[in-house]
């Protein structure tokens, strides 16, 4: 009794898996696809079948033939390649690297900063970018019609809302919904109508930090900020605390970083939360105290990576992005 199509198919498939050399492959070809191979035998058998079975039988044989031819070619390609490799091995040929994306340097900087504060028990939170006057100014003790507002030029929408000019807005939103103690940092986009040049942009990123309880002091602020800057810039970082003015903190401080030949560079603003801000969110300013700080992500990323033009961040040239 000659073999059935199914038997031939199953055997062929099993055999295919065992082929390890071009020689074995060639004998496989002769055995199945050759002039006197198993498929030829099946085709011969076709002639003997009654007409009504011919059609189906024929098509199945063809299907199998087609499959085996393809399998043969695929296997041949693999075996010949494997065969070629040892002789032609050339370690100087370029390696084939997997494709890899990158996180934007701004994201990397935000993550690094967040990681430091998360270790100190700060939660990373988010807030809206389209804000109202209340959250961006009033609740932060920034008076209308006061020159202190000049530092916060703002984009307004048609509907009378504004694009937040600082992430401090998130302070207010969090304090309105949660009772102290709280420790948060809020990274995000902020907007100021500045002309774009090498060091300015109308959109940039800030990280706001806030720690509130009933005992956190100005000396704690100094300690936490110094610890943070040491983790970010190395333990020998040189910093100084310089009195400054922000409407939402008192005492207020700007922190400068000693940066080689460039001298002191302003790196962040901070201060003890102004009692007026606590009053605005309904905290009892006699019972709670704490500090807030705000820093520009681009500025820190530029310093750490030696980037001299802020515009590079927003151009997204892949030759730039792949360096981080």
């Amino acid at each position: 009794m000659s073999e059935t199509i199914d038997q031939v198919e199953e055997q062929a498939k099993l055999k295919l898996d065992t082929l390890n050399s071009p020689e074995e492959l060639e004998s496989f070809r002769i055995a199945y696809l050759g002039k006197k191979g198993k498929l030829a035998v099946l085709m011969d058998k076709l002639k003997t079948l009654p007409i009504e079975e011919k059609r189906e039988f024929g098509s199945r044989v063809n299907q199998l033939k087609n499959y085996l031819e393809k399998a043969f070619e695929a296997k041949s390609e693999i075996l010949h390649r494997v065969q070629k490799a040892p002789e032609l091995f050339d370690e100087t040929l370029p390696a084939i690297c997997p494709r890899q994306g990158r996180l934007h340097p701004i994201t990397q900087t935000i993550r690094e900063i967040s990681r430091i504060f998360e270790r100190l028990g700060f939660d990373v939170v988010d807030g809206p970018e389209i804000e109202t006057d209340y959250y961006n100014f009033t609740a932060l003790n920034i008076l209308l019609d006061h020159p202190s507002r000049d530092a916060f030029d703002t984009f307004y929408t048609e509907g009378g809302q504004l694009l937040r000019s600082q992430t401090s807005t998130v302070q207010i939103r969090v304090m309105q919904t949660k009772k102290p103690p709280l420790r948060i940092i809020a990274p995000g986009r902020v907007y100021r109508p500045d002309t774009v040049d090498a060091s300015h942009s109308f959109m940039f990123h800030q990280i706001e930090g806030l720690m509130v309880d009933d005992k956190t002091t100005f000396s704690d602020l100094k300690g936490v900020i110094h610890l943070f800057l040491r983790e970010l810039f190395g333990s020998d970082v040189k910093i100084r605390f310089r009195p400054h003015f922000f409407p939402f903190t008192e005492p207020s401080v700007e922190v400068d970083l000693r940066w080689g030949s460039r001298g002191w560079l302003e790196i962040l603003g901070a201060g003890s939360v102004d009692p007026n801000v606590f009053d605005a969110v309904g905290y009892d300013s006699k019972q709670v105290q704490g500090f807030a700080f705000g820093l520009g992500v681009e500025r820190i990323a530029m310093l750490r990576h030696g980037i001299e033009d802020i515009r590079l961040f927003y151009e997204n040239d892949i030759r730039f992005l792949r360096q981080f």
């Binding site: 063809n62 028990g121 939170v125 929408t157 048609e158 310089r242 009195p243 400054h244 961040f313 892949i318």
Partner: protein
Amino acid sequence: MKVSVDWLQDFVKLSPPYEHIAERLTLAGLEVKKIHPVESPKDCLFEVEITTNRPDWLSHLGVAREVAAVENLSMRLPEVENSKNRQHASGWKINLKEAEGCPYYTGVIVEGITHFETPDFIKRRLEVCGLRSIDMIVDITNYVLLETGQPLHAFDADLIRGKDIRIRRAKAMEKMVAINGREIELAEDDLVIADAERPVALAGVMGGKDTEVTAKTRNIFLESAFFHPRWIRMTGRKFSLASDSSYRFERRVDPEGVDFGRDRVLWLIQKYAKPRFISAVLKAGEKPVQSVGLINLNAADIPKQLGVEIKTHQIHSILTRLGLHVTQESSKGWRVKAPSFRPDLTRSIDLVEEIARIYGYENIPETLPEITPLLSEHHSQVWLENGTRDIMSGMGLFETVTFSLVTRKECGAKDGFDHAVSIVNPQNKELAWMRPSLLPSLLSVVETNIHCGTPDVFIFEIANTYHMISKDKHPKENKTLGMVLSGCWKQKTWLDSSRENSFYDLKGMLLSYFDRLGIRDFMFRSINSDSKFRSEICEQIMVGADIVGVLGEVNPEISRLWDLESKVFYAEVDMGLLLRHIRWVKTFEALPRYPGIQRDIAVIVAEKVKAGEIKEIIKGLGQGLIRDVEVFDLFCGGRIPKGFKNLGFRVTYQSQERTLVSDEIQGLHSVIADQIIKKFQASFQ
């Protein structure tokens, strides 16, 4: 502001090196940005930055006062002319009609002045501070402004009509030509100084051309006043006019400085301009006084706020040096009265800051707070964003950060334009729209990179898109993931051939992404109408009942706006919606215990038949034994008739209960193959 050290020496004794003084001031909050040495005659110029809360520093006297407080030095005040026995100016009157805008107004008539050359020291000091010498009288008023911080204005008295000075609101449509030559049309909310007939000065901002002091002027009317900061600020902003005077008035001048500054000008005029007559002072209104009287400073608040114990006598000394009047209330604290030039001091915390500042921030120790662990809220949104970034970059996509503001053209490139949020005061007139989609920004990135010689661009961004709900509602912000594939999926190497990007690559990324997030209940559904995509080459992503996103080939009409010739694929996912469907904790499913068997079916079907339809039919016929059906082959042409294609399916049979035997499967497989042939009018090759 520019500060001459030589000038400061008039009031405090300073010794070089001045870098030391500069650093002390900086560390007390009066930041000296730059120090310029000045030769012949020797001087040193400080460029200082003055924060808006300290208008009292906007003068040499103010800076000297700070130096004295910081260095604990004594102060010497400049000489003034304030003799009591001067005669009244006959016929002159001051009519104060707007007491809110101008609470206090004073003036003096000076007659018979001589226009000598301005004394050298005045000329030189003005020059060092960046002012040009004009005329002795003008120079003296400018000098006193820089010296005391009180702005003063001299009018040519003979050009004032009716000897009548009126401080009033402007009348609608009233006009005035300012000293800088500009004609200003006034409105009723502008405060002006007028004579009997017309405005002669925009109060506190700029004098009028008509009454300007010139070389011919013999008699002057000297004005010294307190104008309300808000009024000056409003008018200045409205006309885009700023002057050294308005800068100080809008920050609030020292009410006591009104008299002092005026008397200082009179002293200098008397000495150098040799006038025939100086009148007694004409006054109107009252000096504004701070509503806050005494501030209670609780001794315990200082260590509680600052974290450092400062000795009582030190606190007393610091406050006194700052010009504050301190009375010891008890051992528990003090009552403190701030001087007129420190309107910023109204609360106990303001005094605590002053103490910290002068004590020196550098002398406050650094401590680390005791941190009690808090139950962290599950910030799922932040988690999802971060997780998504890792997954996307892991799949080979570069993260971009692009501007949230786009141009109208970019915004209109998709059909969300009607609902886009616009900015009324954009910095760049073009970039006036909050983007409703990330597509335009990402296409710009592709364009940039092609120009820079990087044609294969794989990018993603996570950012808000902005949507107007209705005119009177707050716009909505959706955290959105945008992905773009453009160019080659892989470039030819010595080992492999190259391949273009395809819709299926992007879709595969989304499948992997959902898989990583544990989202299972998703479905891709074809859509016909999304103008951002090429017709029919787009799908909607459904998770549960939510449409969480779309993907497709970007409509060539749109990509052409960015000069992109080749195919670009784009996907957009609403992360807020996706968040609802994430399985935060994945549940283990038992691994199959019995082996599976694979069998292939290759059929030739009409081109329009969708692979997915056949796949579904195969699955349906599997009597529950099919675990998976995969399309492993697709080709046309060659032996395949026109209008047809060859599709190869690999079917995996597997049972949960037993090992399947080959015969059993062969029977089922043949039945399925037959059914497919019938159902799709297919044929085997």
